[in-house]
Symmetry: C2
Amino acid sequence: MSVAAPLRSRKAQIDGTATALFRAQGFAATSMRELALAVGLEAGSLYSHVRSKEEILHRVCFGLAEDFFAAFAAATTDDGQPVAQRLRQAIEAHVRVLTQDVAASTVFLHEWRHLSEPARTEFVTLRDRYEAGFRALVQQGTAAGELHCPDPAFAALTLLASLNWLPTWYRPDGKLTPDEVAHRLAEQLLGGLLFQ
Amino acid sequence: MSVAAPLRSRKAQIDGTATALFRAQGFAATSMRELALAVGLEAGSLYSHVRSKEEILHRVCFGLAEDFFAAFAAATTDDGQPVAQRLRQAIEAHVRVLTQDVAASTVFLHEWRHLSEPARTEFVTLRDRYEAGFRALVQQGTAAGELHCPDPAFAALTLLASLNWLPTWYRPDGKLTPDEVAHRLAEQLLGGLLFQ
DNA sequence: TAGGCTTGCTAACGCTCGTTAGCAAAAAAA
DNA sequence: TTTTTTTGCTAACGAGCGTTAGCAAGCCTA
């Protein structure tokens, strides 16, 4: 039995470090030698654990996509409640995934462009399907008279937009817990800023 | 008098083409040879018009920063009106700058990280100062009882966040004019989605 | 017409990139 | 114990990078 068993496998450690570097500098501006140094290996040694640089990006992007879909499904399957409530839960679920791993979220949101085909197209398709889920909720809510907006598709788009800038400013060590951030965001987006 | 005088100077053409490439692929993933090809020159010839690759990025980032400051100032100097109205105008002004040149906006929002010091720090300082302008508006509006939010700083942050995702989805040839987009966004963010 | 700036070319510089081959030690499996 | 797998190293590959030097042709000014 090894005395100091690694908490994470080397592969997971490489993925995590790469994610942090991709976030800070971008995929293209991060070299395998840089990654190796951060992990404590030589450049060539990385390839004992990882097939290529892009494979890491692929895993991060599609891994997070799964997280988003799972969270959305869990938040919206309860059909008993009003649509607005389910939308609120979907918002909070989205924020929770974002805050859970800010680095991975940033990579998911910005670095997927560096995937080569066909992964890139596959990713965009997933992304569109996820957005369609939000759009459907807003549409149902509007139809049911629970929400008011001139254009549900537009509203859904800008709603997600509001959430997806979060990784650029959110700090895990800030004074608000992830759940508080999620709640306030949902409150502000659904209720608006105007006093009424 | 030359028959086919260029509409833009070569330098402006290079800046514009580079901006489009930086937007589509990122600064680091765009090579000077690629840029030269897109402009119709050889790689070395670019340096007759441009000092370095980073100089282009610098011009784009700081140029747009000026645009944002100018638009914000013009939108908020009229002290006669209520704060909420001035905030609405600031939002619409921000959106107008974003939509005016989506490519440059995207570079401004994402690629500034590739500036080297001291330009990078200088840029971040400008960005912070701009955000502080919005924060002050929201704070004044809340103090005046025109806006209701638990945390003005948080609200200002997420307000700008909502706007800054726009370049990722906005299409100039879409069915909404820039002014309509600006108006709807302001409406939705200030009024919220909930029917009330 | 002469001089100097502007614009663009070709060729090359030193450097870094992602990745691979070949080998050695350690760890796990038999 | 022997064998196999895992992990890591060094060295190097071909390619692409940003940038520069040196030169030629075209243009404006005098």
